[in-house]
């Protein structure tokens, strides 16, 4: 550096008294000489200008200027440049500093050195490190991504170890410590006043790049930055309380005013959609304020298209002045902008973090309790884990080796394979037993869920079953048929996974070492087989199958009630509630069973520790878990009560009637005659009974038995009553959940008893032999179940009998709701029953509505009149109620048939032998429209409750840059 370049410092301050002294110290310590200092203060309420004056007055030529608080950073810089000109100073460089940015002593020297080496560099920036930590990197040049995100290319909280120390061209540099040629700054028109605080550096960099100017980062120059405005430490009238709003507004504005003209409309669409998406993401991590800021920023920018266009005109003019006809330096801009895939990468990372946090948040309740206990009592040190994680053992080996050398992993894989072999029948869609055929599209389910009046039968106000909403949501990508196949085939593996996680935590509760892997494998496989061996799968009772998959996850979430941290407990409450809502949707009596269980749990806890339980964050979460399903499922249970379909609240879902469950079935874990040999099912309760013997684990085993006892007691009134269905048949309320909870409690008890087995060597020989025998029985039982299911599991799932409705009528019925088909069965002597085939028939979800819809006495009277004697008025009534055909199923009662033959308005229609059919004349008109505002209200409650509860249940993920 032969000739010392002249540098004027432009120090902008606003209420910076807490940092200014240090900043000024930094200035004074500069090894490079300063030409002059212009300090611009924007309406500080503290004595910032005075501090500056006192510190610098005697050292360098100083001008202190005051501006109103409404002046932004660009205004301050412009004012500073004017002051320089007014003072007749003509420095080559301007070094911009913030009142919270302290330069290292050599900062300016290093910047000038690089400026000398690289004469093409017009804007230079230092390495920004965090203040006051001093070591963590903040920025080494920045760029902007397609979504407006400020990209530094650094990991969060990365420490400066010289890993980025190379001088390179960048898109933009932060204004804190920015060294810029005064002439260039003036040519470019300074900073854009539309960006008062945030994002003006990116905008300037973009404009500079477009004008063909070079921006360079100089890592050897270091400036420590407190980022007071960004972190909300400093509030000015310009940042307001909504920092995020200002940042987003600036980002959107920068993108829109600098983007290429051809892509502008596309950019607007993309940014709008992106903002909405980000809003949901922010809501998902309970950052409601930022979510609102996000959308408000978008609105604020798009509300003034004129400003954007004006700003674009200014930029075009600037480029034209600087580059003439060459146009903007697009190549440079493109090179320096963030790559296009970066936002997607961020989205993926975010989603991954969310899932990991959501699934892991309860995993270590036992550990946290122990840690909390250790904190209270230092003598109880957490013991070293006996079973280390596989990850530690095989840290260096590949996953293939780890997989094939782990017997547990291999056994799990084999079990899952066997389960998938067993469910082979689901390929290509299936139905039978309690499982009705699926509708053609998810739209049918949506309609069923949304409408308050269904064109089922002669019209029904009975609400759609609660499970229709999740089915509708899940069926969106794959279609209903595939969805049911997937649900039926994946339920068992999911149950296995859930049981593994639950039992692992249970094991850790009981012993610090946790349960051994083989025992967990045994427990989870046995659990996964419960719905399969019980015959629920083969009988098409898909609600029980899904409930078995949900229950361990619910139990796992409920373990969080015991968390030492109140926030964790509340989250456990919300999560348990959501799981219970799902469970109740697929097995409605679950709510009742769980309510009694939770009441018993709270009651017991109150007896044991009344002081602790009285605290709201202890009893609150379990109660919240019970309230959540009431809120989430309100469009289902509330109308059901009013429409006389209260039976749906206790019946197992599916097509009724399904065989009743006896006490013996509950004991053996079987549904009627379906399922694996019953003797195998008795092994589990016997094991659970024997588990009461070892003293070491007796307390938790007794607790399991208490759960079983409470559940069994709740099961009694359910089992001995019956719910009346349309047609006079009765159906036993659903005992599926009772069976599952009983089996689950026994399984947990047996597993806990199994924990005592590792003291086998200490026992006497006959005892050893006996225990070995018991263990063998416990081992053989699930194996038998597995083999049974893999070979014979799907045999009971018979196809539905062929329909009585002729094909051409069914096709016609599919085309319009009003073209219903009245199907009559039976005879005069034994009584006639009627049902209506509408649309694509009774599909999954609709069958329950049809069965629970109370009889319409008028309709029955009309049909009775029709079949008793020719009655043209009855035909007109049928037509009015949307009946196009009347079918008398084989064997047709001739007396009825002849009466219908002789009825005016019924025209004989072709049908297969033995079946009689008539067409109603005139054909029915469209069914009346129904608008149910009450239903809309309930759906609104549900629609708000679900996302809010999901957000409440998710772990906190949003971390600021301070973490």
């Amino acid at each position: 550096m032969s000739q010392q370049a002249r540098v004027a410092v432009l120090l902008v301050s606003h209420d910076g008294a807490s940092w200014l002294p240090a900043v000024l110290d930094g200035l004074r310590e500069q090894t490079a000489p300063l030409d002059s200092v212009v300090a611009v203060d924007t309406g500080s309420k503290d004595d910032s200008p005075e501090i500056v004056r006192q510190a610098l007055e005697d050292h360098v030529p100083l001008a202190v200027r005051r501006m109103p608080a409404s002046a932004g950073f660009p205004d301050a810089v412009a004012d500073g440049l004017q002051a320089l000109a007014a003072a007749g100073r003509d420095p080559e460089w301007v070094w911009i500093l913030h009142d919270d940015a302290r330069p290292a002593p050599t900062a300016l020297q290093e910047l000038l050195a690089v400026a000398g080496e690289r004469p093409e560099a017009d804007i230079l920036g230092p390495k920004l490190r965090e203040w006051p930590s001093l070591r963590r990197l903040l920025e080494l040049g920045v760029t902007i991504s397609g979504t407006g995100r400020r990209e530094t290319g650094l990991e969060r909280g990365e420490y400066d170890q010289g890993q980025h120390d190379e001088v390179r061209e960048v898109f933009a540099v932060n204004t804190a410590g920015m060294l810029v040629r005064r002439a260039v700054l003036e040519e470019l028109g300074g900073f854009d006043a539309a960006l008062p605080i945030f994002g003006n550096d990116l905008d300037l960099g973009w404009r500079a790049a477009a004008a063909g100017r070079t921006t360079v980062i100089v890592p050897k120059a270091v400036v420590f930055h407190a980022e007071a405005a960004h972190r909300g430490v400093r509030r000015t009238p310009l940042t307001g309380r909504h920092t995020h709003f200002q940042e987003r507004r600036a980002a959107l504005f920068t993108l829109l005013v600098n983007a290429r003209g051809a892509t502008l409309p596309l950019q607007v669409v993309r940014l709008a959609l992106g903002s909405v998406l980000r809003m949901f993401g922010l809501l998902g991590v309970r950052a409601v304020g930022e979510a609102l800021d996000e959308i408000a920023a978008l609105a604020s920018v798009l509300r003034h298209p004129g400003r954007i266009l004006a700003a674009r005109r200014t930029r075009r003019a600037a480029v034209a002045t600087l580059r003439g006809d060459a146009g903007p330096d697009r190549e440079r801009v493109r090179r320096l902008l963030a790559p296009w895939w970066l936002p997607y990468r961020h989205g993926l990372d975010f989603f991954g973090d969310l899932v990991a946090a959501a699934t892991n948040q309860a995993a270590d309740v036992a550990e946290r309790r122990r840690a909390a206990a250790a904190e209270r009592d230092a003598a109880v040190a957490p013991p070293a884990a006996r079973h280390r994680d596989e990850e530690d053992d095989y840290a260096d080996t590949g996953w293939v080796v780890r997989f094939f050398t782990s017997p547990t992993a291999m056994a799990t894989a084999i079990v899952v394979l066997a389960l998938l072999v067993g469910v082979r029948d689901v390929v290509g869609g299936f139905s039978g037993g309690a499982l009705s055929p699926t509708p053609d599209g998810a739209g049918a389910w949506w309609r069923l869920h949304l409408e308050g009046w269904h064109p089922i039968g002669f019209g029904s106000d009975v609400p759609a079953p609660a499970y229709v909403l999740p089915l509708a949501v899940l069926a969106w990508p794959v279609g209903p048929s595939t969805l049911i196949s997937l649900v039926m085939s994946l339920a068992a593996p999911v149950a296995l996974w859930g049981a593994w996680r639950f039992l692992r935590v249970v094991g850790r509760f009981v012993t610090p070492y946790g349960a051994p892997r083989w025992l967990l494998l045994w427990g989870s496989v046995t659990w996964a087989l419960v719905p399969l061996a019980s015959g629920a799968w083969g009988g098409g009772r898909w609600g029980v199958v899904v409930a078995a998959a949900v229950l361990p996850w619910l139990a796992h979430a409920a373990l969080g009630f015991a968390d030492p941290d109140a926030a964790h407990r509340w989250r456990a409450g919300w999560r348990t509630g959501l799981a219970l809502a799902l469970l109740t949707a697929v097995a409605p009596s679950s709510w009742l069973v769980l309510a009694v269980l939770i009441a018993a749990l709270v009651g017991f806890a109150f007896r044991l520790a009344p002081g602790e339980v009285r605290e709201r964050s202890v009893w609150g979460p379990p109660v919240a878990a019970l309230v959540v399903p009431l809120l989430v499922l309100v469009p289902w249970w509330l109308p059901a009560l009013f429409e006389g379909a209260a039976g749906t609240l206790v019946l197992d879902i599916g097509r009724w009637p399904s065989a009743a469950t006896s006490g013996w079935d509950l004991l053996a874990g079987r549904f009627g005659d379906l399922g694996a040999p019953a003797a195998v099912g008795l092994v589990l309760p016997v094991l659970a009974l024997l588990s009461l013997v070892p003293a070491a684990t007796r307390i938790p085993v007794v607790a399991c038995w208490v759960v079983a006892a409470v559940t069994a007691v709740v099961g009694v009134p359910l089992a001995v009553t019956s719910v009346g269905l349309a047609g006079g048949d009765g159906q036993q309320p659903g005992l599926g959940i009772v069976l599952l909870v009983l089996q689950g409690a026994w399984l947990t008890a047996a597993l806990l008893g199994g924990l005592a087995l590792h003291h086998l060597g200490d026992q006497r020989r006959p005892v050893q032999a006996g225990l070995a025998l018991v263990g063998l029985a416990g081992l053989v039982a699930p194996l038998v179940g597995l083999v049974w299911f893999a070979v014979w599991g799907g045999e009971d799932l018979s196809d539905d009998p062929p329909s009585d409705v002729p094909v051409y009528m069914a096709q016609r019925a599919e085309q319009a709701d009003e073209d219903g088909i009245l199907v009559l069965r039976g005879s005069i002597a034994d009584g006639l029953s009627y049902e209506v085939h509408r649309g694509d028939g009774a599909t999954l979800g609709e069958d329950e509505i049809a069965a629970l819809t109370p009889e319409d006495a008028d309709v029955t009277a009309t049909i009775r009149s029709l079949v008793t004697a020719p009655d043209p008025d009855a035909v007109q009534e049928l037509s009015r109620r949307g009946i196009l055909y009347v079918v008398q199923a084989a064997p047709a009662d001739g007396a009825v048939a002849s009466s219908l033959d002789a009825t005016t308005g019924l025209v004989q229609a072709s049908s297969s032998r033995g079946t009689r059919a008539w067409q109603v004349d005139p054909a029915p008109g469209p069914l009346p429209e129904h608008h149910d505002w009450a239903r809309a209200l309930l759906l609104l409650v549900q629609g708000i409750a679900i996302p809010v509860l999901v957000v409440l249940a998710l772990p906190p993920l949003r971390r600021s840059r301070d973490d």
Binding site: V510, A659, V701, A712, G831, I863, G894, A902
Partner: protein, 490 residues
Amino acid sequence: MTESGPTDVPKSDVPPSGAGRRASVSRARRVDLLVGLAILAPTVVALSVGLVGGEDNPLAGPQPPTTSALTSATMVCPGGLTGDDGPVRVTRTPDVPGGKLAVATAPAARGASGSSTTKSGTAITVEQGSTVEVPSSTGPTVLDGRGAAAPGIAAGRDGELAVPECRGPSYDEWLVGVGSSARYATTVELVNPDDGDAVVDLALHDATGPVEEPALRGIEVPPHGVKRIDLATAAPRAEATAAHLTVVRGRVTATARNTWDPLGRGRVTTDFLPPDTDPSSSSLLLGVPDKPAQPTLQLANPGEDEVRVSLRFVTEQSSFAPTGAPEISVPPQAMETVDLAKLFKGATAEGVVGIEIEASGPVASSFMALSGDDLLLLAPAPALDDPAAAVVPSGRKTLVLGGAERTGVVSVVSYDAAGKEIRSDKVEIGTDRAATLALPGEAVSVSVVARTTRIQAVVLAATGGRKPGLATLRVRPGELRAQIPAVDPD
């Protein structure tokens, strides 16, 4: 899965600081509680499971229909054997008001097959206690009553050696023992009383099972049409069969005439084959003549399982299993012909007026015999629960009563052509026996009222002279009430 288990555990497993003293003090009590729970909880489970026991879903069983006043009734009288048989006479069962009946008639039949149409004629009014002759009713005649005129129509036609049954349309019935050969031929007359088409299926069953006979499927009878089908022409077969008649569309009254032609070795004789509308496992063939020639029992099994049949003879004194009665088995969907000649030989068969059939499953049956060279065909008579009336042939005649479920008195009143009561009789009847009553020769109609038991009744009209023979007529229950089915959503 349990949540209370693990959550309770740490409270005792890892005592919180400062709780150690409390724990040691209450340890003894807590152990007792634990053991108590360890015994109590499984006991509660066992008790609950025991309480649940075996459960079944309550199912809605068959629901019997209710009844109401009949508001619409149709009665079809087939044509007589020859064109010059008497006209149709109509009367009423006791205790109904009566009223105006619409009449439609077709010309008398010519030939074994062919078709004609009924034309509506002058309406007649049939009041309680009157007998009205339907004008120009030598051919098939349809009577239709509406409203108060519907209940209790009873009609009949005079005839020598064979009288047809007037009855309403039916949908499913068995004609057991139809012939399609030159020796024994059946003509089926189908009458459609309605404005719409009617379609009839005739399914034949022989000794081995169902017989495929496409020509008898989907027989169409036009509105108000009469269709006669000669089975010997339409579906010729050597041996007799059982015909299962089902109406697949509309309403039809079917009447079968069987003609026995010994091909020059005797008299050609014809009788109406009464249908069996209700195959049952227990039935009574009433009206067996004295010393029948070639007595033959024909049994058809509509079911899918073989049916074993035993029979008993019914006399006025008792019912008994005749010695040497064969053990009969009827294959599924087949017709079995049993020769009863051996049983009717000897003294034991004297006085037999009925044959009681006991079967292991529903069977349809008929009895065929020659009485003085005259063909005689019987089928189980319908049970009479209510007062019934019948228009009876002229001449010497006997009323045979049977099938009583308990001892009772049957009141039989005979009326002349003017509707005047000629005679009133009380007949005692008991279970397992029959009763006979000679009716006045000039009686044109009778009413049969059994107040305490259901019975079956058949009128035997004997003809002497050059062509001796016997005509039988089942007394049919009057249609008094409409059955309203129990209707429920499915």
